[in-house]
């Protein structure tokens, strides 16, 4: 069980590497540049890791993407939720 944090865009090499590494019990948090995934609700990773993948709301707001994420009904967490997620996973890896 692991938490994966992605900081780069969905089409980055960091993202491709991460997608190959995510296990069935793992969760994914998209932060910084990775929140541009909100623009692509058809991204295969949304369905693959349904209910275990989240966008960081503060970073969506900073990039003007919050309302798009809401319109696309994508799952979001705030900073407090980010910490709560790290409480559940002893192993945490950042892809960058």
């Amino acid at each position: 069980m692991m938490l994966h944090i992605l900081t780069k865009t969905p089409d980055s090499s960091a993202s491709i590497e991460m997608q190959q590494a995510v296990g069935e019990q793992d969760s994914v948090l998209l932060i910084e540049e990775a929140v541009s995934a909100a623009l692509d609700p058809a991204w295969a990773v949304w369905e693959q890791h349904q209910s275990r993948i989240f966008l960081l709301s503060e970073d969506l707001i900073a990039r003007g993407l919050a309302s798009i994420a809401v319109d696309n009904e994508l799952p979001m967490l705030d900073m407090d939720g980010f910490v709560a997620l790290t409480e559940q996973y002893a192993k945490i890896v950042t892809w960058y």
């Binding site: 900081t7 910084e32 900073m79 910490v83 709560a84 409480e87």
Partner: protein, 133 residues
């Protein structure tokens, strides 16, 4: 709910060129707000620039160096900088500046220049270890 976890943070991005330091800082405050502890913050690679005491951004912008100092003052969190990465990038404490015959220094407490052993120690002591890069 898990209470009282000890977190270690690794910061690898420079202020104002990478979002990593600001993410790490906001995360640090959220950790404390949830009742956990921060065992230490380690600055490595371009992250060492967070320790530059001569940082002087415009007044309406967040001064990240000052924000880390405040975090240390409020919560006694160690702020360790990789000495090898720092010297390469022109960051020095007073004692290092003397040793290298330099006329000035730009790293001062609470930031401490230290070796990678400190990073390994933090990784081992922390219940949760998170990289911001």
């Amino acid at each position: 709910m898990h209470h009282g976890l000890h977190y270690g943070l690794l910061v690898m991005g420079a202020p104002y060129s990478s979002p990593a330091p600001h993410s790490a800082l906001r995360f640090a405050h959220a950790i404390i707000a949830r009742g956990h502890k921060i065992a230490g913050v380690f600055f490595y690679h371009d992250g060492v620039h967070n320790g530059a005491s001569l940082m002087a951004p415009p007044q309406d912008e967040l001064n990240l160096h000052e924000a880390w100092r405040e975090l240390n003052q409020q919560h006694a969190i160690p702020l360790d900088i990789c000495i090898a990465a720092a010297l390469r990038r022109g960051l020095m404490s007073e004692s290092e500046a003397q040793r290298h015959g330099q006329p000035a220094f730009n790293v001062a407490p609470p930031f401490e220049l230290t070796g990678l052993g400190q990073l390994l120690d933090l990784q081992q002591r922390a219940d949760r270890f998170i990289t911001f890069a």
